[in-house]
Assembly symmetry: D2
Homo-oligomer: 343 residues x 4
């Protein structure tokens, strides 16, 4: 059994990771660190884990050496604690925003402050198996991308990899997200009476995750973000311009080829059925990222769509997938829940 610690285990993404770890046959939860809840039972905070675990949260000091540490801390806290955790664990998987960008200037532009551990940036491998699987096999530091970035990157990546779009035109993304992305300590805008049924544009331009898309795809991405009525679930719609002469068949083939062997990416672009394009609600709890596309043949404009559960493939599940890869375990271990329909 591999001994694993979750730091920031009292939040939504920490709780989701605990759910996955407790169901993983090769993992033993060595510690669930929470400064807010240390000493309290885990299932008092994450009620879905009642009867699943009797463990309690602990303080950071109580954690000894372990095989992996996952950080589910608030943004900006991870970079202050990173040295500490590196010394306690050979593998650190960071699920915060702190190590997602490799350029300190870009970081400053998007996060509005200086990076506090710039010397570590180059050592982090992006936790995106579909693009960086080989590097992940040997990584000691992994930074899991933002949920909307993952959906956006995976939706457009086949076209970039197959050189089918005009990179100079960049790409415009509109992301929609559920409320769990704001976390368990969210402010007044996440009060149910305000958030329910809303279509709240909280980032009309320059959502942070656009910087990650730009980095991974090598083009200028722009992203808006809107909170819609959902607790879990992210969907990104992206727009790019095809190179002249690229037709739908070529696009389809690029998607199929790119993801033929990926265990957690499905191409969804159907002629019939209720959910013909990627739909977050059938992915909740699952580690899938569904991707799809549609073409306006008259104009050469391409729409790509990505959907995932922000707490799973957009966070804890993706982190565990990276861990499986790194540890040489079957990549899908503990991640096979298929999602529910209807839900």
């Amino acid at each position: 059994m591999l001994r694993v610690t979750v730091v920031g285990a009292g939040g939504y993404i920490g709780g989701e990771l605990l759910r996955l770890l407790l169901g993983h046959p090769e993992i033993e939860v060595a510690g669930a660190v929470s400064s807010r809840f240390a000493g309290k039972r885990i299932d008092g905070v994450h009620p879905n884990l009642r009867s699943v675990t009797d463990l309690s949260f602990c303080a950071a000091e109580a954690v000894g050496e372990c095989d992996a540490v996952f950080l589910a801390l608030p943004h900006r806290v991870a970079m202050t604690q990173m040295d500490h955790w590196i010394q306690r664990s050979k593998l650190v998987v960071d699920m915060t925003g702190d190590f997602r960008l490799d350029d300190t200037e870009v970081f400053q532009r998007y996060y509005g402050e200086e990076h506090l551990a710039p010397q570590l940036l180059a050592d982090f491998v992006p936790g995106l198996p579909e693009l960086y699987r080989e590097r992940l096999r040997a990584a000691d530091l992994i930074s899991v991308p933002g949920c909307m970035a993952t959906a956006g990157v995976l939706a457009l990546y086949p076209l970039v990899a197959h050189d089918l779009i005009d990179l100079r035109q960049g790409a415009q993304f509109d992301a929609r997200t559920g409320s769990s992305g704001s976390g368990a300590t969210a402010g007044p805008a996440n009060l149910h009476a305000e958030r329910s049924g809303a279509m709240r544009v909280f980032a009309p331009t320059r959502h942070r995750h656009e910087a990650e898309i730009s980095r991974h795809l090598g083009l200028a991405a722009a992203m808006t973000a809107t909170g819609v009525e959902a607790v879990r679930g992210v969907q990104t719609i992206g727009h790019a311009t095809l190179r002249p002469g690229v037709d739908e068949r070529t696009v389809r083939r690029a998607f199929r080829e790119q993801y033929a062997k990926e265990p957690f990416v499905r191409v969804v672009a159907h002629q019939r059925g209720i959910f013909r394009y990627p739909e977050p609600k059938i992915l909740l709890g699952s580690n899938f990222c569904d991707v799809g596309y549609a073409l306006d043949a008259d104009t050469g404009r391409l729409t790509v769509i990505g959907a995932l559960d922000n707490l799973v493939k957009g966070g804890a599940g993706n982190a565990l997938q990276c861990f499986n890869i790194r540890m040489g375990l079957p990549e899908t271990l503990g991640l096979t829940f298929p999602g529910l329909h209807p839900l």
Copy 2:
């Protein structure tokens, strides 16, 4: 009192119009035509009108002459009945898609069939007071635009009118809509268990309303449409490219000037507050279309946002506003409900 008939009164938009007409001090409802419900009480179908009216639906044949007829028919039916209603009423206000485009070829491209009354197209004035108020004062035939078209047009119009964007770049819109837009006879995709909490991309390219935006703004618009969790409410996010040198102050002034005297358009682009940009949920039941904008100064990319209640400013309310203008009544008569918060 002006005698008014609603044709297609059993649907959602017909019911919403009945609600508005029954509360209008200068209007008498002369007939509520429904082929499905003729003979049945109106409040059996529209339960919010219990104790408001004792009227029943009637058949089309029962309608005599009246001052205005509003058509809330299914798309494609209006154009087969238009001659009939023109003979019974000096003013016909059509709320369907049949007379929204003035070019039969464009109609065929977007609706997939030939127009059956092309000779009438030129006579229809678009029911969009913010662009065509003067023409509406004398109109006998009015075609109310599509809900997403209205939100998209009003959000981008100030920039077009003030010549601030590069028209050659076109504009990309992503629209989100509630389920009431699919009507009271919607199919399996609108079953609650399927639709609830979904982000269903039903038009990944070329939603019909993009043709209306292109017509009214004189640029190539592209629109995707997604059904999100809401019953009422439409929001469109649009992207365009500013002309070189246009700054935020100029954009802000264009919006303020354009809509300073408009009773039902509010500019919402604030620094603080929960709803800093146009939010449909605070508009439900109201005739407002809120519009806003945000600028990425580094790239010159502009985001515009429009929001409205699809059954009111996106349909029945807008139709009544046009009627008020046409009849020389105060424009806001019967349309002053401000919306609810929270909701």
Copy 3:
């Protein structure tokens, strides 16, 4: 014009009252008191009032004499301020829980603390026009009942008034409520991610409003309360035992007679249609309380159902109805919005 002040105007019920007052033809808003928001614009907090009012919140000290003061304070604060407001206004309408019970012992049992102004209790007339209209005409102090109490009382009252049920058996009520009842400063249980889609039993026994039902109906009421997915809306289902020999016809007649002349109570117990029994969602924004019933003829058990918008007939609207009565105005003035369908 009558000059009216709202105290606690920054909350949900205060905001709803402002909406109603600003649309009332005989009222001038003299002050909108908020300790939290004094000096800030009202429409910054209540965004549905954008373009409806330019007023700002003020401090309590800024309020001079006025014709009526409405208190929308947190529970327990109203009783500490009551003397102050009585001196500034001939009429005080309290929308809090502080003066809803006339027995200090019962108050202590349900609120867990001593009443701080017991000498005033006897002077308050319950703000329930359907039971106390004549007393309200001369009232100087009015206490508006709790939202679930109003729905429960109005649903069962015809049977009590017509002596059709066995009072000794008491009555069991199960209430369901939306999240707005918890107010704009609600805690973690009202975070969207927790509250969305929940059926959260927050009072499995002895909800406070049961004491009000017991008082007004003269029987022992028991009430549970559950938060369900809705922002506005309350529904109570009640169970009582009919006296031997009472049949459905007698029950129906009691309901019809009791509410034949009531402007805001409708009897809804139909054989057909989607909403055959009282449904909150078609009442949102309206001042209606719909009531209905069903009989199990085999057992003599009766189910009664009441529904309303907790912020309107369950709060601000009911308060305004009382005000209209007290001031000799038409009872429905400013309260005629019928509600929306679908919503």
Copy 4:
């Protein structure tokens, strides 16, 4: 591997069972019968099973012998096909309402028609492991109870089993349910625009499931049922009268003892936390039924609460649990998904 067939596999409960069977290590899906979808891919109807299975639906005639058949047919169809399936499979697990009552008169009273296979009724063992586990070990015919009945029975059973309540007083239940219970072919009342946010009382008295509660608990149960905003999830609140002298400690002990060894029933009645009582939303996808209680010590009135996912513990999951018992497999096999939080 045990060969299993699902009949009525195109509906919601059939789809949920397929999800569970496909993840069960000892089961091979031998057939997924659907008259509507025969020949079509399963994942075209149940999109959460994309990449999980390549199977297609088949016709009833295509099914050969198998180890078990599960019927997820519409009510009233199962009893016409039962003989057919009994001949093809040693074990038949019926998830419809047709064999839930053992008294043909009671059946007629609640279902409004004569039973067509009365001779089989006595052979069915109720599919409720918590009450009938030993009989299930040898059962060849199993009838899974209704979702609200299961929640109601399990919530009150400890008090009946420990003889703590006055059976003569009967028990009153109020059930709340999500929309998936109406199935994939539900009518206009389940259109999203109507059902969303509703609290629709569809059974103000005598919901069918009350007859099952009466049968299993040996008292006169009465049940109302309301559709609230949720897709999955059922919650029942029940009221009964304790015998004189029974205190909270005794009640607590009865619950703890009754369910100490049950793998899928948890007692939830806490002093702290957001979800102190049984909450369906944290159970979605899981096979748990959470039960809780609260006591009004002054009156001896007891409230019990049960919650479950209607498609899992209220249907397919419960059926699979019964199958595991019958086949001598570990009872929890394939049923260990713990549910999600938040959701």
